[in-house]
């Protein structure tokens, strides 16, 4: 279980997150929602150690990870798929996966397991990553994070700008991962995606939590979510 406890963090003197707390539990998809600039991406970056906390901490299964340098956080079991995918463009699909597998010291068994989730990538193994379509790049970015065998997967708007068939494939992969027991913390702006995927939703504004919903409450009152997002 990942818990963020009273986190205050930002860039220089500008604090984006103010005393933010949240929990991402195993086998659940937790959605973080909010308007642009609310602090969603900063939350994920702070969990990964990319934005140092001014106060508060991040705890994974009882271990404080917010004291670690960023490169040690993935090894503790947190995978991160940032917005914009950020692949190793000059490397092939297979090499992108290989680099991730080497980081964890994992072998071909795990690669086959990951490719099962994204069978489309199997046909593209020899292709340069920067020549893939947007949806395939997102699949590869997610697959690469999964090569680290994360207990918690952080996804930042994974379906942004993708065609419907790709969105379905990525959502299906998320549900499969959740059913396998991973904790997923998803930053998402699309209400339909949240309604389809989320077990728990946390809405933030100005770096603070303003409301939380469980899945049942969401189904009953999606308009509350819309009012928070201003749509």
């Amino acid at each position: 279980m990942l818990s963020v406890e009273g986190l205050t963090a930002g860039y220089g003197h500008a604090m984006i997150l103010r005393d933010l707390s949240l929990v991402a539990e195993a086998g659940r998809i937790t959605c973080l929602m909010g308007r642009n600039g609310a602090g969603k991406t900063t939350t994920l970056k702070a969990i990964m150690g990319l934005v140092p906390p001014a106060a508060g901490r991040v705890v994974l299964d009882g271990e404080v990870v917010s004291d670690l340098p960023p490169h040690q956080v993935p090894g503790r079991g947190i995978g991160y798929v940032p917005q914009g995918r950020r692949l190793f463009g000059a490397l092939s699909v297979a090499e992108n996966l290989e680099v991730a597998l080497m980081a964890r010291g994992s072998g071909t068994g795990l690669r086959a397991e990951v490719l099962e989730l994204f069978p489309r990538l199997r046909d593209r193994l020899g292709q340069r990553a920067d020549t893939l379509s947007g949806g395939e790049q997102q699949m590869l970015a997610t697959a690469r994070a999964l090569c680290l065998q994360p207990k918690v997967l952080l996804l930042d708007e994974p379906t942004e700008g993708l065609q419907p068939s790709m969105i379905d494939a990525i959502r299906q992969a998320m549900l499969t991962l959740r059913d396998r027991g991973a904790a997923i913390l998803l930053v998402e702006q699309r209400i339909d995606a949240v309604l389809a995927l989320a077990d728990h939703v946390q809405v933030i504004e100005n770096g603070r939590t303003v409301e939380t919903f469980d899945a049942a409450a969401l189904t009953r009152a999606p308009e509350r979510l819309r009012s928070h997002l201003g749509v």
Binding site: P74, R86, E95, V99, A100, M102, A103
Partner: protein
């Protein structure tokens, strides 16, 4: 993979065979090109594969040249020991430089490496009592002997340059096909992302810079031992720009590119200087043309157009 191995081993074999057929002038030139190509190979590990754009690699080349040269000037250590000391000098200097310079990136890294290199060049001039400053010094023929073979002899020199080149060339091929080589490319492509996969990118870049510095020093030591001279001009800015140019022309991030770039540039200047005194004009036009029409360099274009898997 097989085709690529055949290409690289084929080049090594061709260069060996050329020893027996080349006329004297070209024979000397190719020995020089092979020695300098080792420098380009070293530079390519830092720049081509890891994305570290250094403007100070001349300090590593000079560390090798002076490390070997000064030892032979003041002791009877012998050429083999001098070569070993040169490698240690290059690796040690790269380690110290890297520990400080790698705290910066991009333009700052270029400037910091340039400053380090200038400091080394000035140190060579300052300690003229030992280095003979601007003039440099001749490395005595008697000290340039390996197992009874005189490195000043054209045949021995060619074979020694070939052995040095082959070792660096095949080492480079091996390195980029190792997991570490792939991780270095990943760092070049997207360092923050590599860090978020769990890689300590600072240590990996430092490792790449140390290897690069050591290979560059091997080239500097080889140049001093084969051609019998150590001079301060080899520590100047020009010798930091050369390997960048050779690597860009040949194809950054390819194993064969540094050799092709060095060969192309060497002969471009050699041939054009036979035509006119304004040979740098011809060289400049040719370089602009190559940059415009083959921006990824000779081997880079080959990889882009025809040979996707060329390492």
């Amino acid at each position: 993979m097989r085709a690529s191995l055949a290409l690289h081993l084929g080049l090594v074999a061709v260069l060996f065979a050329l020893n027996f057929v080349l006329p004297a002038y070209a024979h000397g030139n190719i020995a020089r090109v092979m020695t300098l190509a080792v420098y380009a190979i070293g530079y390519n590990i830092a720049f081509g594969y890891t994305g570290l754009l250094s403007l100070g690699h001349a300090m590593f080349f000079a560390a090798g040249m002076y490390g070997a040269g000064l030892l032979l000037r003041f002791t009877d250590a012998g050429a083999v020991a001098a070569f070993g000391v040169a490698l240690a000098c290059g690796a040690g200097l790269a380690l110290v430089t890297g520990l400080l310079a790698l705290r910066t990136a991009g333009v700052s890294f270029m400037i910091v490496t340039l400053m380090f290199s200038q400091a080394c060049a000035l140190a060579i001039l300052y300690f003229a009592e030992y280095t003979r400053g601007d003039e440099g010094f001749v490395i005595a023929a008697a000290s340039r002997v390996v197992a009874g073979h005189d490195l000043g002899d054209a045949q021995v020199r060619y074979l020694a340059a070939w052995a040095l080149f082959s070792a660096a060339f095949l080492f480079s091929l091996w390195l980029v096909n190792r997991p570490m080589g792939k991780v270095l490319v990943a760092i070049r492509e997207n360092e923050p992302r590599a860090r978020l996969l769990g890689y300590d990118t600072f240590r990996l870049k430092l490792g790449a810079l140390v290897i690069s510095g050591m290979v560059s020093a091997a080239s500097g030591a080889g140049y001093g031992l084969f051609f019998g001279y150590a001079g301060a001009s080899f520590a100047g800015v020009q010798y930091s720009i050369f390997p960048l140019l050779w690597v860009l022309l040949g194809g950054a991030g390819t194993v064969i590119g540094p050799f092709l770039g060095t060969l192309f540039m060497f002969y471009l200047i050699d041939l054009s200087s036979g035509i006119t005194d304004a040979y740098m004009l011809i060289a400049g036009v040719a370089l602009i043309g190559l940059t415009l029409f083959a921006p990824q360099g000779i081997a880079g274009e080959l990889r882009r157009r025809a040979w996707r898997g060329l390492p």
